[in-house]
């Protein structure tokens, strides 16, 4: 409302100033306050530049990461060969002492540039052969750079990328010498190898996992019987007998599965590929160890698009590898979504009920206004404080009690007595409940009093009025609050670090084992993934592209949620504008 009137005044303001000029009365320069105005405007433009610069940086890096880049082979003046994707170039300042130590011609050039030197970062890969996977090359040391069409860029399951050439390949035991990247036999064999890998993973993770799960359950049954009835009781003896009886077939099944996995592995070993780096150092690895390979300087646009899309697909649909710096983020997406949904399930009813109490039921007086101030304040309490509370109260307090009552047989390994999905969701629910309360209260107060009075006058009870008249009209506002809470919750990391987020969760919180939803499990989170890959990994440079993509994903999710809130809010406003009494 105020905006409209402000506009009107602006308009009037402009009209009046035009009138002034028409009358040809000049305003004193001092009264115009031009320098101060420019300072104010400058501050605003700094803010705008900051936000757009930031988004540009993130999205540019995020969306260009998966583009297949050419591979340069650089011959240095020392004769050394460096092959890799040129990642970025920058000017950097050389220490004055370092400049003095250079050859006079180089030193003079750098002096002329004010001590700055241009350098390029190459992603060289081949960490297992050379001990590094990124290398800075100063421009003055470069003799020449070429882009030969036969150089391959290979993504591997282990040791990161490889840059070099294929020396030989063995397909089903038959050796093929110097095949190209597009050799159909090789491509076909690679696809078969990937399928075999999938099969092995399926056996090891799902089938053997099932057997292990059953064995563990038998063991726990024995332990529970021992704890409940004493180790010498007949119940415990029965449980032990049951374990012996049931574990026999399970073990047999395990042997069978292991043998099958072994058989596939043996086939796998007959399909190998020998890679050679640019200097000729060789490395042989199974074909299934390659994720993707392509001749980086010999790609058509279609190839590039294909690689780009397949990398995005891999990112969104697979598990991370190489200490989270490669592969995908599926478990993190899953964890983020599961945690946020769980949080909403808890925060929505609680927040709405509290707002209803404050707005519809409580006596409006000093106490309620104090409570309202406190609720507003809680929105400003640092999130880490909630994390501390969640750890101390939920995980160590409530969780340990639950363990002692229900999961005695698993102690001293905590089940609920440590960080987990449920505690993270509860903590974030506490963190976001003020958002929902404030939004719901606003929505409730926006429902005209006349409607309530009308309903009551017709004889509806208080609850009937709230349920049928107030809540439906307030619903869009409440939804906005809930969505904003989701956006806030999805972006929080600090409290989660304390209550259940881990860098690598072995199992998802939802799986095929009873009770299917495992609220006590720790989980992965996109935000923590960013922190972990950026700061805890071996080489932050190697993780950077991954972090940028993850960042894009996270900002994308949050922006979508915020946009939804904005759209719902504007709909709500329109609906109200149309139905004013």
């Amino acid at each position: 409302m105020t905006t409209i009137t402000a506009d009107d005044v602006q308009q009037a303001d402009r009209d009046s100033s035009q009138a002034v000029t028409r009358r040809n009365i000049t305003i004193p320069l001092k009264a115009r306050g031009e320098p101060a105005l420019w300072a104010l405007g400058g501050a605003l433009s700094v803010g705008i530049v900051m936000i757009f610069g930031f988004l540009l940086l993130v999205f540019y890096n995020g969306f260009t990461t998966f583009i297949a880049k050419p591979v340069a082979v650089v011959t240095l003046k020392s004769g050394e060969l460096v092959a890799g994707e040129p990642t970025r170039s920058e000017l950097y300042k050389l220490a004055p002492d370092a400049v003095k130590a250079l050859a006079p011609t180089d030193a003079a050039k750098i002096e002329a540039r004010g001590g700055y030197e241009q350098r390029t970062l190459y992603r060289t890969g081949n960490y297992d052969l050379s001990g590094y996977d990124f290398k800075w090359v100063d421009d003055r040391n470069v003799a020449r750079a070429e882009f030969p069409s036969d150089v391959l860029f290979v993504e591997r399951l282990e040791w990161g990328a490889f840059v070099g050439r294929i020396k030989a390949a063995a397909i089903d035991g038959k050796t093929v010498s110097t095949p190209t990247a597009k050799d159909p036999a090789l491509v076909q064999a690679h696809e078969a190898a990937l399928q075999r890998l999938q099969a092995i993973r399926n056996i090891e993770r799902n089938l053997i996992g099932r057997v292990n799960y059953d064995l563990e359950r038998l063991r726990l049954k024995v332990r529970r019987a021992e704890l409940n009835y004493g180790p010498t009781s007949p119940e415990a003896a029965a449980a032990r007998a049951n374990e012996v009886e049931a574990s026999g077939p399970l073990r047999a099944q395990y042997e069978l599965l292991a043998a099958e996995a072994q058989r596939i592995r043996q086939i796998d070993q007959k399909n190998t590929v020998t890679l050679a780096d640019i200097a000729g150092k060789e490395k042989t690895l199974p074909l299934s160890g390659l994720v993707r390979f392509y001749a980086a300087n010999d790609l058509t646009l279609a190839d590039k698009i294909g690689i780009y899309l397949s990398r995005w697909w891999e990112f969104l649909s697979s598990d991370p590898r190489e200490a989270n710096t490669e592969g995908g983020v599926l478990p993190a997406i899953f964890g983020t979504v599961a945690m946020t949904l769980l949080m909403v399930l808890m925060v929505a009813p609680v927040g709405v009920i509290t707002a209803l109490y404050l707005r519809e039921y409580a006596q409006q007086g000093r106490l309620v206004s104090v409570v309202r101030i406190s609720v507003n304040n809680l929105a400003g309490v640092p999130s880490i404080v909630y994390g501390v509370f969640g750890l101390g109260f939920f995980a160590y307090g409530l969780g340990s009690s639950i363990d002692e009552v229900f999961f005695l047989e698993r102690l001293p390994n905590p089940t609920y007595g440590t960080g987990g999905l449920i505690w993270a969701a509860l903590t974030l629910a506490l963190l976001t409940v003020p958002v929902v309360i404030v939004a719901t209260e606003e929505a409730l107060s926006a429902v005209p009093r006349s409607m309530r009075e009308g309903s009551l006058a017709c004889g509806a009870s208080k609850w009937q009025t709230i349920r049928n008249i107030v809540l439906p009209r307030a619903m869009p506002g409440i939804m906005t609050g809930i969505i904003l809470a989701m956006a806030r919750g999805a972006g929080e990391v600090a409290p989660l670090m304390l209550v259940g987020v881990v860098k690598l969760a072995p199992t998802l919180p939802i799986d095929a084992y009873f009770p299917y939803i495992h609220l006590e499990r720790s989980f992965m989170h996109l935000g923590f993934h960013i922190y972990d890959v950026g700061f805890q990994s071996r080489n932050s440079e190697a993780g950077k592209p991954m972090v940028f993509v993850t960042t894009c994903l996270l900002i994308g999710i949050i922006t979508v949620l915020n946009l939804a809130a904005i759209i719902i809010r504007s709909r709500l406003k329109r609906r109200f504008a149309g139905s004013q009494f």
Binding site: V9, G33, L44, I566
Partner: protein, 862 residues
């Protein structure tokens, strides 16, 4: 729903009685909502209560759980040393006669007795290691015997307990030598003692008694060394080392003893005791008079007295002297009941031979009578002292607090000991009386003073605020001062607000007062979009992308703070050159574009002038300059420039003749020239001021400018801006827009320009709302976690240097809490950090909220 209500109303018409189900559901809703609502509100306050509850034990000191007195059978009560097991079940006392007696502490029953005596030798000196289980006896014939008292604890299942045990006090049992204590899960703990002794070693010449000895085990696991220092009746001080070598071929162990004679004491020295370190590099000989001679024996062959110092005042005898765990603190007890702690610290100008000096670091509360016994804990800086009046005080060195004052009533205590788990104190007095005090002292190292005050820690030259919680060994002294963390929080918040306040508030004023509706409809959501950026992303960008760039281009970054304002003002003065009708026509978004262009021009200039700037102002290398290279005069000129400019403006205003108020300042060119002249004049003034202050010895480095590190406060402040600006901007903009329209309309219609209206009418009215915005922004900055974790370097230091790192409360919690042991001191300290944050933000937000409410009321009245 509509049909629902209509049927309900139809029924009511018929019966005029409200349906039962409606009444019930109404009652249920009533109760659920009331209970739910109140429950949430209570839960929210529960957070604070819970935090306080976790933190409280930090300040509770210690309390007595129980006490127990028993007479130990078979002991004389003149005890040199005593040793208690982990569970305070049995006590081993070393008698002055050289006997080692083992008793059950519950009943006093004698379990075992061993004698170290052979023949008619008399014990004249005794020492034990810190744990008390390795002992050394010196005899009157100049020989020395080493021994080892080991207490074994093993857990047996009930079935393995031998039969025929006799009952002791409570439910403990004994087979005559070992004690059996039933514990949970049908298990039994068996405690037994073994005493072994080695062959006598001759140290002093035949017939010369050893009057003092100290014994240490040192070296590594692979090559353990045993060393001891002894003083004989003639005042000869000997440093001896036993080395055990295993012959690789035969597997036989061979022990060799090597002794070095240190400079002997003057004749007639009344030796009280002797102390040495595990490395055998320092030897302290204490005299009863209170004098201590410190030998520097780092090179045993050249050992000499490095220092002679009185540890007690004149007339007060030194009664006990001993190390605390870690051998950095020396506890000296006097005959006047005083207990003081000394550190050996490098002290320039102390006049000692090795440059070190014993310095009194802690003066603890004195006891009413002379100190007679002392025992340190072997895992912390806790210790007990007993006095001649029968008082036993449990103390802690770091916190200087007396945890417990125990009273035995016995005036002849000869030994006291602190149990290995620090949960009991056992004292032995005459006639074999033993006093056992069980206590609970979970957090002896923390008091309000250690948390917020300056504390003198071991190895520190003076008292300081230090946070260092990680402990590699038991000997480590944990340093829990929240001061550097609170400082870090305040520093990060201060610098980020220095950056964020101008941008947020100026931006808000411009948006609400000088932008049209359509442009504002784009600008405001864009600024608010900043709020939805997750802070982990900001932290990542700041630390891994921004920090290296800033480090590389620091010259340009600093120059930007000069160039951007200059280019904006230059833009403004150039704008005034435009004919007024033209200038007036361009407003709103279009003008903002021009402003943006001049901003970009400023940045462009900063980047291109950076090398030159660095050359002229920072001696060619900014980072070297911050560490002290070159002169600070040019930079100080730069600092004084804006101050001089503002001073000049004010000065001119006060003199009407100069301000030229006679003519309407409508000549843009004149104004421009005047501005340039003012710039030049103020620059000259600033240069003069800078020269003057440099001449007076001022150097800006060391204050808020100092040595450059990559992850620094400048970067944190910038990144934190993203987190703080949107919320301040939104609240301030709302407050400015909420100023009633009639005020502005009145001002404009009276002929005021929009600028005059904004600054003289709108701003004063909205001031309280803007204050609230700043408070809330401050609260945000204080609590921000991920940015400081990632970009601040996490060094807990106290200095205002904008180019150094910091460690904030929030970051500290995030980094250390996952590894803290539940209910340990660190765990509770981190909860205290969280509570501090909670209180800080709660106070800030409450102030903001109250101010905002007042503003709303006032705005409604206008």
């Amino acid at each position: 729903m509509a049909t629902d209500t209509s049927t309900a109303s139809r029924q009511r018409v018929k019966s005029r009685v409200t349906r039962r189900s409606v009444l019930i559901s109404d009652a249920i809703a009533n109760w659920v909502i009331r209970i739910g609502g109140l429950g949430v509100i209570l839960a929210v306050f529960g957070i604070m209560v819970f935090l306080v509850d976790v933190v409280r034990p930090l300040f509770s000191g210690a309390h007595l759980v129980g006490q127990h007195e028993v007479t130990l059978k078979g002991t004389s009560g003149r005890v040199l040393s005593e040793l208690v097991d982990e569970y305070t079940t049995i006590i081993v006392s070393v008698e002055a006669t050289g006997e080692v007696v083992v008793n059950d502490l519950g009943s006093g029953r004698l379990l075992k007795s061993n004698s170290f005596l052979t023949g008619d030798r008399k014990v004249t000196a005794f020492s034990s290691t810190l744990r008390g289980d390795d002992v050394a006896f010196g005899f009157d014939d100049g020989t020395l015997r080493l021994g080892r008292i080991k207490i074994f604890a093993e857990i047996l299942s009930l079935a393995n307990v031998p039969s025929g045990l006799t009952k002791l006090a409570g439910n403990t049992l004994t087979d005559g030598e070992a004690v059996y204590v039933p514990i949970e899960n049908d298990q039994v703990r068996k405690l037994s003692v073994s005493v072994t002794l080695e062959e006598p070693q001759r140290i002093a010449p035949e017939g010369t008694a050893l009057i003092a000895v100290d014994y240490r085990l040192g070296g590594t696991v692979e090559r353990p060394t045993t060393s001891f220092v002894s003083i004989d009746a003639n005042g000869a001080v000997r440093l001896s080392r036993l080395e055990t070598k295993r012959n690789l071929l035969t597997g036989k162990e061979q022990t060799s003893l090597s002794s070095v004679e240190l400079p002997s004491l003057p004749v007639g020295t009344d030796v009280a005791s002797v102390l040495m370190t595990s490395q055998a590099d320092q030897v302290y000989v204490a005299e009863k008079s209170g004098w201590v001679s410190r030998y520097d024996a780092r090179d045993p062959s050249k050992a000499a007295v490095a220092e002679r110092i009185r540890l007690t005042p004149e007339g007060v005898r030194l009664t006990t002297l001993g190390f605390l765990v870690g051998e950095q603190s020396i506890v000296a007890g006097g005959s006047d009941g005083s207990v003081n702690i000394f550190f050996r610290l490098p002290t320039p100008g102390a006049g000692t031979a090795d440059g070190f000096a014993l310095t009194k670091a802690h003066e603890l509360a004195p006891q009413p009578a002379a100190i007679v016994a002392f025992d340190p804990s072997d895992r912390s800086k806790m210790f007990v002292t007993a006095d001649a009046a029968g008082n036993i005080w449990v103390r802690h060195s770091t916190s200087e607090q007396t945890l417990l004052k125990l009273r035995t009533g016995a005036t002849d205590i000869s030994a006291v000991s602190l149990s290995p788990r620090e949960n009991a104190v056992v004292a032995v007095a005459g006639h074999g009386k033993a006093f056992t005090f069980s206590m609970d002292a979970p957090h002896p190292e923390t008091t309000l003073r250690t948390i917020f005050g300056k504390i003198w820690y071991e190895n520190y030259p003076e008292a300081s605020y230090t946070w260092q919680s990680s402990s590699g060994t038991d000997a480590f002294e944990p340093k829990f001062s929240l001061a550097p963390l609170i400082f870090g929080t305040v520093k990060a918040a201060f610098y980020s607000l220095m950056f964020a306040i101008p941008i947020a508030l100026c931006g808000a004023i411009y948006t609400s007062q000088f932008l049209g509706g359509r442009v504002r409809g784009v600008v405001k959501p864009a600024m608010e979009m900043m709020a939805s950026l997750p802070s982990v992303v900001l932290g990542f960008i700041a630390a891994l992308i921004l920090a290296p760039i800033v480090e590389n281009w620091i010259g340009a970054v600093v120059l930007a703070f000069v160039c951007v304002p200059l280019s904006l003002f230059a833009g403004a003065y150039l704008w005034q050159l435009l004919p007024q009708p033209v200038a007036q026509r361009v407003g709103g978004g279009a003008k903002l574009l021009f402003v943006g262009a001049s901003l970009v021009a400023g940045l462009y200039a900063a980047i291109h002038l950076a090398p030159l700037f660095e050359q002229v102002f920072f001696d060619g290398d900014f980072r070297a300059w911050t560490s002290g290279a070159g002169s600070s005069q040019p930079f100080m000129t730069l600092l004084f420039w804006p101050i001089a400019f503002v001073g000049l403006v004010i000065f001119i205003r006060t003199i009407p003749a100069l301000s030229g108020s006679g003519r309407a300042g409508d000549d843009g060119a004149r104004e421009f020239v005047r501005w340039l002249a003012m710039l030049a004049l103020s620059l000259a003034l600033a240069a003069g001021l800078a020269a003057l202050s440099v001449w007076a010895g001022m150097d800006v480095r060391g204050s808020f400018v100092g040595t450059y590190v990559q992850r620094n406060t400048l970067v944190v402040g910038f990144a934190m801006g993203f987190a703080v600006i949107p919320i301040m901007y939104t609240i301030a903009e709302d407050a400015l827009t909420a100023v009633p329209e009639h005020l502005r309309a009145a001002s404009l219609s009276c002929g005021a320009t929009p600028w005059q209206t904004a600054i003289r009418v709108i701003l004063p009215t909205a001031l309280s709302g803007i204050f609230a915005a700043v408070m809330i922004g401050l609260g945000r900055a204080v609590g921000e976690t991920m940015i400081v974790v990632m970009a601040a370097g996490n060094t807990p230091i106290i200095d205002w240097n904008i180019f150094s790192g910091l460690r904030a409360l929030s970051a500290n919690i995030a980094v250390e809490l996952p590894e803290a042991v539940k209910d340990g001191t660190l765990y509770r300290m981190l909860f205290l950090a969280a509570l501090t944050l909670f209180i800080m933000t709660f106070v800030l937000n409450t102030i903001a909220e109250l101010v905002r409410l007042r503003f709303r009321k006032r705005a409604a009245q206008l």
